[in-house]
């Protein structure tokens, strides 16, 4: 108990330093090039918060977060593309000689429909799918593999249906959001701050869930699902709920990605992207929301630096990171810091996630 209470304080300190870093230090010190990159990492930080909730606290490892990221991203991209090419058809449709706009593209002329879709469609899919699966008591590794297969399915579909989805090149070349430019430097700066606000709201929601009694039940389910079930809880419902929240955050991240980076491609949906999202969290610490944000910033930053100057080293580095973190630092950097501080109090090694 002493440890639990003590951990809150470093968490708060870390959150405040994060806010200072993002709001004050980065905008004053860094140029627009780096600020744009940081914006991109923040997108993955939002996804990461969802992964902390599902993986760290729910014990659900999803290797298909790219699926929800992709749905959110593509929905946003559909709207932006229609805006950019109105009143004509989007260019890639013309290239693949699609004659009329497919019916399921049509609603995305409207921003409000788009935003509602982003909020509802991925979350609804996630809930229906995961509740069904968890009711059947499929969990752990099997769930990870099934989600991986789903992410793969979506990638194959996106690449295959060139005329409707832009194929392997994805959708790009956006111009405006509700009439406002999104490609000017000023717009990028505004977006950066909007993203920070969204990130902190997401972190707040995550912390609230963990601190609530719901969070306690989730931890109990993670550590001993049988016992919680025998106590009369519908464990599948709780797991489906937290998975849905994480899917929602992923979709939100995807939508922001389209908006901020200005393109979405099947690569961002696929297996590799989905697993990269996991490493952000693994590095930061699967039990720490702030840790996941720092992890996303750190890994994103090293990816930019390393793949720019030594492209061949990046995969070695990423692979090595996976190995080292899971073998020696299962609770990531956050866990390392806590362990250093509380070396005497506890050797509470990260508990089994199964």
């Amino acid at each position: 108990m002493t440890m639990l209470r003590a951990v809150n304080k470093p968490g708060l300190v870390a959150a405040i330093s994060l806010a200072l870093l993002l709001l004050v230090v980065f905008p004053t010190v860094l140029g627009s090039y780096w600020l744009n990159l940081i914006s991109k990492y923040l997108v993955f930080a939002i996804v990461g918060v969802g992964i902390v909730l599902a993986w760290g606290y729910g014990g659900i490892l999803s290797l298909g977060q790219g699926l929800f990221f992709g749905i959110g991203g593509y929905l946003m991209a559909m709207y932006l593309k229609l805006q950019a090419s109105a009143p004509d058809l989007p260019d890639f449709m013309i290239w693949s000689s699609t004659e009329v706009l497919p019916w399921w593209w049509r609603p995305y002329h409207s921003l409000s429909v788009t935003l509602i879709s982003i909020a509802i469609i991925p979350a609804a899919l996630a809930f229906v799918f995961s509740y069904a699966v968890f009711r059947k008591r499929v969990g752990g590794v099997y769930f990870a593999i099934v989600t991986l297969a789903l992410a793969l399915t979506l990638t194959v579909m996106l690449v295959g249906q060139q005329g409707y989805t832009g194929g392997a090149n994805g959708i790009t070349d956006f111009k405006t959001l509700a009439g406002m430019s999104i490609i000017s430097n000023k717009a990028k700066v505004v977006l950066y701050f909007v993203q920070i606000v969204i990130l902190f709201v997401v972190m707040g929601i995550g912390t609230a869930i963990i601190k609530s009694r719901l969070g306690k039940i989730l931890i109990a389910i993670r550590d001993r699902e049988d016992r919680v079930r025998f106590s009369g809880y519908d464990t599948a419902l709780f797991k489906a709920f937290i998975f849905t929240v994480s899917a929602f955050f992923s979709a939100l991240g995807g939508a922001l990605y389209s908006l901020q980076v200005g393109l979405i491609t099947p690569t961002l949906v696929g297996v590799v992207a989905s697993i990269e999202m996991i490493i952000y969290v693994a590095v930061g610490g699967r039990l720490s929301i702030v840790g996941a944000v720092f992890g996303a910033l750190l890994v994103g930053w090293s990816k930019s630096v390393i793949s720019e100057s030594f492209p061949t080293v990046w995969l070695l580095f990423l692979g090595g990171l996976f190995i080292v973190i899971t073998m020696f630092l299962p609770s990531g950097l956050a866990g390392l810091l806590i362990r250093l501080r509380f070396r005497r109090v506890t050797n509470a090694a990260p508990e089994r996630t199964q």
Partner: protein, 300 residues
């Protein structure tokens, strides 16, 4: 559908079946029997393929007279190399993660990235392909109009041999008895005097060796590049999970079902949509039979 189209269609189904079986057998042992998620399994297959490529190059250069039988040397070398690699991997790495399946998944994923990059640095990013042995080039034409490629026939034969040997090894040898005992109840086997660490390492190495054979064989039907392993891994997992882990027979049956479904769907739909259908079919089946299609009922 005329008769010869039907026969060729059926043969391509059988051929895909044997390929899936070869691909999945190693994983069926490592994942199915041992319960270890090895995401680097595909890269171990790629290792087998690259060893085959090396063997072929060496034979071409120094022993051109033996080119006709290099296939058998290549298979042996591929098996030995991946067997040794698997042993090393289990001893140095996998064994520390036995009780943490999700971490095993992530760590071996990391390993697969490292291996991919290593292949890229050593063999280059381009595809490498092996020149076909002359007697495997061509097709067997039992009736005019029906052509059965010889290399596919060779794979069918090899799959049968490998399967029979594996069956005998698992069910007719001391080692197989130990493996089955350890995978069923590790603590009890240990108490009965079986060196479980040794059995684990051996089992993992044999599974890797099978992957190496599969990789070696695949050089006959396609070229190899650093990302080849990624192509195989998903299919292998689907076959094993679909069939139900812990049953080798299930792996065979599921490979049969999936290969027939795939060839039939590809006949009517485009390749990518056929794949999507298969993936969704597998997810749906797993929903109704979470332990796989052909699993026996066990208490959990």
């Amino acid at each position: 559908m005329s008769f010869d189209v039907f026969v060729m269609q059926a043969f391509s189904g059988i051929s895909l079946f044997t390929i899936l079986v070869l691909m999945a057998l190693g994983l069926a042992i490592i994942f199915g029997l041992m319960g270890v998620i090895n995401m680097a399994h595909g890269e171990i297959m790629a290792l087998g393929a690259y060893v085959t490529y090396l063997t072929a190059s060496v034979f071409e250069k120094y022993l051109p007279s033996l080119m006709g039988i290099y296939v058998f040397f290549a298979l042996a070398f591929a098996f030995l190399a991946t067997f040794a690699f698997g042993w090393l991997l289990e001893r140095s790495f996998i064994r520390f993660l036995y009780n943490r399946p999700l971490d095993t998944l992530l760590a071996t994923w990391g390993l697969s990235l490292v291996l991919q990059q290593t292949y890229r640095s050593v063999f280059g990013a381009q595809e490498v392909s092996v020149s076909m042995t002359s007697w495997l080039d061509g097709a067997w034409e039992p009736v005019s109009g029906i052509q059965l490629p010889l290399n596919r026939l060779f794979i069918v034969g090899l799959t049968i041999v490998v399967s029979v040997v594996l069956y005998l090894a698992l069910y007719r040898t001391r080692w197989g008895l130990n493996v089955r005992a350890v995978t069923q109840n590790r603590a009890m086997s240990g108490a009965a005097g079986i060196n479980t660490n040794r059995v684990d390492a051996m089992t993992f190495a044999v599974g890797s060796g099978l992957a190496g054979i599969a990789g070696s064989v695949f050089t006959m039907i396609g070229s190899t590049n650093p990302l080849t392993g990624q192509l195989y891994i998903v299919d292998s997992f689907i076959v094993v999970v679909f069939g139900g882990v812990q049953t080798l027979l299930g792996t065979f049956l599921s490979a049969l079902v999936l290969s027939q479904a795939q060839t039939m769907l590809e006949f009517t739909l485009s390749g990518s949509m056929a794949r999507v259908c298969i993936l969704l079919l597998v997810v749906a089946v797993l929903y109704f039979r979470p332990n796989g299609l052909f699993s026996s009922k066990v208490r959990q």
